[in-house]
C-alpha cells in the first residue's frame, strides 16, 4: 500500500489550507473557504465507499497521493488532528469501522474470474446492528442486519481475504463532521494509512439537503488538482454526479464566482488558486 510523510512545510500548508465548506442555512449558499490541501498523506480506502453507506447528507472525501518512499506514522495523524483542532474542531468521540475484502471460494483459481473481485463488507458505528455489502463495479450497496455476515459464512461461497480496521476520532467542525482514523489490517497493529472524511451535518433536513444539492450542482464544479482529487459524492442528490476520473490536470483556477462569504474560518490564501506546484507562502 502506498505511504507518505508530511514535511513540516506541508503540514503548515495543510493547516492553513484545509478545505472547508460551510453552508449557511440563512443565505442558502455555499462558500468555499479554501480549496487546497497538502499533497502528501495516505489514502487507502476507496474514498466514496464509506460515503455511500454512511452519508445521509452530501460528503466530501479527500484523496491524497503519497510521496514515493515515505512512511506514515502516528505523528502524522497527530498533526492532522491538530490541524482540525486549530479550525475549532471539537472532539465528539472515538470512531471505528471495519472494512472486509471478500474473495470467491472456487475449486480452481481460474474460476474466480467469473465472480466479482470488488465484493466488500462494511460495519459502521452509527449502525451497529447493520452490515453493508458492496459490489463497487456494479454500484450495489446492500443494507442488512448484522446476521447477514453469519449467512455469508454459512454459504461458504465467499470468504474474507483481508479486513481493515479504521480507528480514530470524530470531530465537529462548524457544520461538518470530520473523522480521522488510522488504517491497519486486522492481523496487525501496524498503521498502513490514514483516512480523513468530512460529512455535512444539516439540522434542517430534506429541504436544506435539496438546496445544498442544487447549489452544488449549479455552482461547484468537479475540481481536479495536480496531486489529489476532490470528490463530492452526495448520497441523496440524484441530480449530481460527483465521481471523478483519475487525471493529472493542473488547472486549479476556479471557473465559478464564489458566493458572499459567511464564514468564521480563516480566509483563503490566494495562491491556492494558482499553480499548485508553485511554492506557497503560509500566512
Amino acid at each position: 500500500m502506498p505511504s507518505s510523510v508530511l514535511t513540516p512545510n506541508q503540514v503548515e500548508r495543510c493547516r492553513s489550507k484545509l478545505a472547508v465548506f460551510t453552508y449557511s442555512s440563512v443565505h442558502s449558499s455555499i462558500h468555499l473557504a479554501s480549496a487546497f490541501l497538502g499533497t502528501s498523506a495516505t489514502m487507502i480506502l476507496p474514498g466514496g465507499l464509506l460515503s455511500a453507506v454512511t452519508a445521509t447528507n452530501p460528503i466530501m472525501v479527500l484523496h491524497w497521493h503519497p510521496n514515493a518512499g515515505a512512511t506514515v506514522n502516528t505523528q502524522i495523524m497527530n498533526e492532522i488532528s491538530q490541524c482540525i483542532e486549530s479550525l475549532n474542531g471539537v472532539k465528539e468521540g472515538r470512531w471505528k469501522s471495519v472494512l472486509t475484502f471478500y474473495k470467491p471460494i472456487t475449486r480452481e483459481q481460474s474460476m474466480a474470474a467469473e465472480f466479482p473481485r470488488d465484493f466488500l463488507g462494511l460495519s459502521i458505528p452509527e449502525q451497529s446492528n447493520k452490515y453493508y455489502f458492496i459490489i463497487r463495479a456494479q454500484r450495489i450497496v446492500l443494507e442488512a442486519d448484522s446476521t447477514i455476515q453469519t449467512i455469508m459464512e454459512k454459504l461458504q461461497s465467499y470468504k474474507s481475504r483481508v479486513a481493515l480496521n479504521f480507528e480514530g476520532t470524530q470531530y465537529r467542525v462548524g457544520d461538518f463532521q470530520v473523522r480521522v482514523a488510522k488504517v491497519a489490517p486486522s492481523y496487525s497493529e501496524t498503521m498502513r494509512g490514514i483516512i480523513m472524511e468530512t460529512d455535512e451535518v444539516l439540522a434542517s433536513g430534506a429541504e436544506h439537503e435539496l438546496q445544498l444539492g442544487r447549489a452544488l450542482s449549479e455552482r461547484v464544479p468537479i475540481r481536479k488538482f495536480d496531486k489529489f482529487h476532490l470528490l463530492i459524492k452526495p448520497a441523496l442528490l440524484p441530480s449530481f454526479h460527483g465521481a471523478m476520473s483519475s487525471s493529472t490536470a493542473a488547472d486549479d483556477q476556479p471557473s465559478i464566482p464564489l458566493p458572499r462569504a459567511t464564514t468564521t474560518h480563516p480566509p483563503p490564501v490566494t495562491s491556492a488558486h494558482g499553480n499548485p506546484r508553485a511554492p506557497i507562502r503560509t500566512p
Binding site: T106, M111, F115, F119, I135, Q138, A144, K154, Q156, S157
Partner: protein, 246 residues
C-alpha cells in the same frame, strides 16, 4: 436454530382449522402473502452448492411516498390507484434466510420435531441484485397465500396455513396457481437455541396434539397425508364456532 413441523389439510377444512387456532392461541389471524425466491449458487462457486432464500413479505410494503399518493388517488381515480398499488407491492420488505442442516443422531431421530439451523437477516430491496451479482441463480420461486398466527405457549410459536403457488412466468405473482389445488400446507415453527431446543421441542409437540383431529404434523419431508377424522372435526368446529373442545 428453529423447530419445525409440517402437515397438510384440505382447503375445505381450513376455516375450521383457523377457528381452532384462534381459540387455542388467543390471537387473531394475520394475512400471509409471501413471495419466496430460492437461489442456488452457480456450479463454480464454492466447494459445494449453497442455497439461500429471499423472502418478500407482500403484506408489509416499505412505507414510501407512493403510499400517500395511493391514499389520495384512491378517491380520484381507480386507474391511478391500481398503478400505485403495484408500485407499493414492488417495494416490500426483504428477508434473507439460510436454512442449514438438521440436527442428527439418535436423539434427533427420537423426537417428532425437526431441529435445524436457520439464520435470517432483513435486507434492503436490492438483495436479489446483490446475490445475482455474486453468482447466485434463481432456482425456483413460490408464492404462499394464507394466514399466520403468532403466539406464545411455552415457546414463541408461529403457525402458518397457506396455499403454495407457482408462477408460470418469472415473478408473475398475479398469475400464480396452486401447486396442489385443494390442499394447503400447515407449518408450525418456533425459534430455538442450542441450550433450549429441548424445551421448544416439547412445547411444539404439546401444541400439535391439539391439532391432531384435523391434521397430523411431522418433520418436513415425512408426509402422512390428511387425517381421516378431519371432516368430522371440522364440522364440529364449524357448527359451534370452536366452543366445543375436540
Amino acid at each position: 436454530m428453529e423447530c419445525v413441523v409440517q402437515g397438510i389439510i384440505e382447503t375445505q377444512h381450513v376455516e375450521a382449522l383457523e377457528i381452532l387456532l384462534q381459540g387455542l392461541c388467543g390471537v387473531n389471524k394475520e394475512r400471509l402473502r409471501v413471495h419466496e425466491l430460492c437461489l442456488k449458487s452457480s456450479p463454480n462457486l464454492g466447494f459445494v452448492s449453497s442455497d439461500v432464500r429471499l423472502v418478500c413479505d407482500l403484506e408489509q410494503p416499505e412505507p414510501t411516498w407512493y403510499m400517500h399518493i395511493l391514499i389520495c388517488c384512491y378517491y380520484f381515480s381507480s386507474i391511478v390507484h391500481h398503478k400505485f398499488q403495484r408500485d407499493v407491492i414492488c417495494n416490500p420488505c426483504r428477508t434473507v434466510r439460510h436454512i442449514g442442516g438438521a440436527m442428527r443422531g439418535a436423539g434427533a431421530e427420537q423426537i417428532s420435531v425437526l431441529v435445524r439451523t436457520m439464520v435470517e437477516s432483513k435486507a434492503s430491496k436490492n438483495a436479489l441484485r446483490l446475490f445475482y451479482a455474486l453468482g447466485y441463480k434463481l432456482d425456483h420461486e413460490l408464492l404462499r397465500v394464507g394466514s399466520a398466527f403468532h403466539f406464545h405457549r411455552g415457546a414463541q410459536i408461529t403457525v402458518t396455513v397457506s396455499s403454495v403457488n407457482k408462477m408460470p412466468k418469472l415473478h408473475a405473482i398475479d398469475e400464480a396457481v396452486p401447486v396442489t389445488p385443494g390442499i394447503q400446507l400447515v407449518e408450525v415453527t418456533a425459534p430455538a437455541t442450542a441450550d433450549n431446543y429441548a424445551e421448544i421441542v416439547a412445547a411444539v409437540s404439546s401444541f400439535c396434539e391439539y391439532l391432531a383431529p384435523l391434521l397430523h404434523l411431522s418433520k418436513p419431508g415425512i408426509s402422512t397425508g390428511v387425517v381421516p377424522t378431519a371432516a368430522a372435526a371440522a364440522a364440529s368446529l364449524l357448527s359451534d364456532g370452536g366452543g366445543t373442545a375436540l
